[in-house]
């Protein structure tokens, strides 16, 4: 079967560029599964990236992120553009399985050829997630989707991860979650470029707006003052304003010559992360042998100390890589 052809990432790349949705979907799987073939394809396609506006959404579980994405698709389509979505849901740490439920809210777009939607589980580590999402977004960018929406799980660490992927981060808040839990949560104010107060049809939304506004007034924003937009994802109210605000953010970044800079910084950060991950992997592998076990035992018996051990591990890793490079 042609779709199973190995080692020919150029064919994958060609098919992706030709708009073959099945190939696109398959390469995303390769990337998600961290198969070398996926990254080879991405190497070929890299020059094509850099055109898309990448928009991240984060916020509390059930806040209406998926519903909002559904309406954003509608708005973007009505403005005549294609759009891709990456929707991330948590993987169960116990079984490794996941129910990826975001798509339900966007399923009406399934047969619109100008929309591509992909669901992903967090699978394992959060660092790993960022890597898969990052690569997938690059692929979608190369496949010339002008807009890419990324919905992340709104819990814990990952809302910060979204910064590593998106040009514009939309932080979704909702009324009724109790006092400023969502708003003042560390880090959330810093990462938001646009704040959407969703479920504005419910009581208390104005209070959230005021709270956000006053928090934002405290921070210093030289180039871009993050706006607060109210939305009702169930009816689409406010979504046009939201998209407009998101577009304005990109324009301001461009005009201030910040977009390219930020993207490069992200690329660098992502690269460093991948390197770190590889090195960590190498070292772990390298030291899961007899010699390694001996070292841990020595540490336990206080025959050595962690700092000496670190030095040894580092030097020995460096030695191996030097040898590798000479090969």
């Amino acid at each position: 079967m042609t779709t199973h052809a190995k080692n020919d990432s150029n064919i994958w790349a060609e098919r992706v560029l030709a708009g073959d949705r099945r190939a696109l979907a398959r390469v995303i799987s390769l990337l998600e599964n961290q198969e070398p073939e996926g990254f080879h394809t991405l190497k070929t396609l890299y020059p094509k990236t850099g055109q898309a506006h990448i928009i991240g959404l984060t916020g509390p579980p059930g806040g209406g992120k998926s519903s909002l994405v559904d309406r954003m698709i509608q708005e973007i389509r009505s403005r005549g553009h294609e759009v891709a979505v990456v929707a991330v849901d948590p993987t169960s740490p116990f079984t490794g399985g996941a129910i990826l439920g975001d798509r339900i809210r966007m399923q009406r777009w399934a047969s619109d050829t100008g929309v591509y939607i992909r669901s992903m589980g967090t699978r394992g580590s959060l660092g790993g997630l960022a890597r898969a999402v990052y690569a997938t977004v690059q692929l979608l960018d190369a496949a010339s989707f002008p807009y890419i929406l990324v919905e992340t799980v709104g819990v814990g660490q990952s809302e910060v991860d979204i910064v590593q992927v998106a040009d514009t981060v939309v932080v979704v808040s909702v009324p009724g979650l109790g006092d400023d839990v969502q708003v003042s949560k560390a880090g959330i104010m810093e990462i938001g470029d646009v704040f959407a107060v969703n479920k504005a049809d419910l009581p208390g939304s104005q209070r959230v707006v005021v709270e956000l506004q006053s928090m934002l007034d405290l921070g210093s924003h030289d180039v871009w003052q993050p706006p607060v937009v109210t939305t009702v994802a169930t009816t689409g109210k406010g979504v046009s304003e939201l998209i407009t605000a998101i577009q304005e953010h990109l324009v301001v970044l461009q005009e201030a010559n910040l977009l390219t800079k930020q993207r490069l910084a992200r690329e660098k950060e992502a690269l460093l992360q991948r390197l770190t991950e590889r090195i960590r992997c190498d070292i772990t592998k390298q030291w899961s042998n007899k010699q390694g076990n001996q070292a841990w035992e020595n540490l336990a018996a206080k025959k050595t100390d962690p700092y000496t051990l670190e030095e040894q591990l580092y030097l020995s890793w460096k030695g191996v890589t030097t040898v590798d490079n000479q090969d």
């Binding site: 399985g97 996941a98 798509r103 399934a110 047969s111």
Partner: protein, 131 residues
């Protein structure tokens, strides 16, 4: 890295009885699969498009209204059209014995009738996914 099997669970047609589909979706998650649940009232086109975009290994169709003879083969026909016959298709619901041969001929690999355990369905999928 051991990759999870990806499944799309869909209810084609207008029937709203989703107890079985939801129980199966949960059981599949607990068996380590990634389950994309598309909800009620799905057209065969929507199901096939979603399956292709999500690059799933298998599609599980559930229908209790008796419209399976029309809806299930339409799904496999569209998969053929998309050159995506490597996606395993299984079906479940109130499906009379006598309809099963025709459905299998149309490319539905297996039909699970009432009383089938989730364990049986999951086992079948694990053994029969094509990649």
């Amino acid at each position: 890295m051991e990759r999870p099997i990806r499944v799309l669970i869909a209810k084609p047609g207008l029937d709203g009885h989703d107890r079985g589909a939801k129980v199966l979706a949960r059981a599949m998650r607990d068996a380590g699969m990634e389950v994309i649940y598309t909800g009620l009232r799905q057209t065969p086109e929507q199901i096939v498009e979603a399956a292709v975009q999500e690059d799933v290994d298998t599609i599980g169709l559930s229908c209790l209204s008796g419209a399976h003879n029309h809806l299930f083969p339409e799904v496999t026909r569209l998969l053929k059209e998309k050159d995506a016959t490597d996606i395993l298709v299984v079906g479940g619901g109130i499906i009379p014995e006598e309809d099963i041969p025709k459905l299998k001929e149309a490319g539905i690999s297996e039909i699970f009738t009432p009383g089938t355990t989730t364990a049986t369905a999951i086992e079948y999928i694990k053994e029969n996914v094509k990649r």
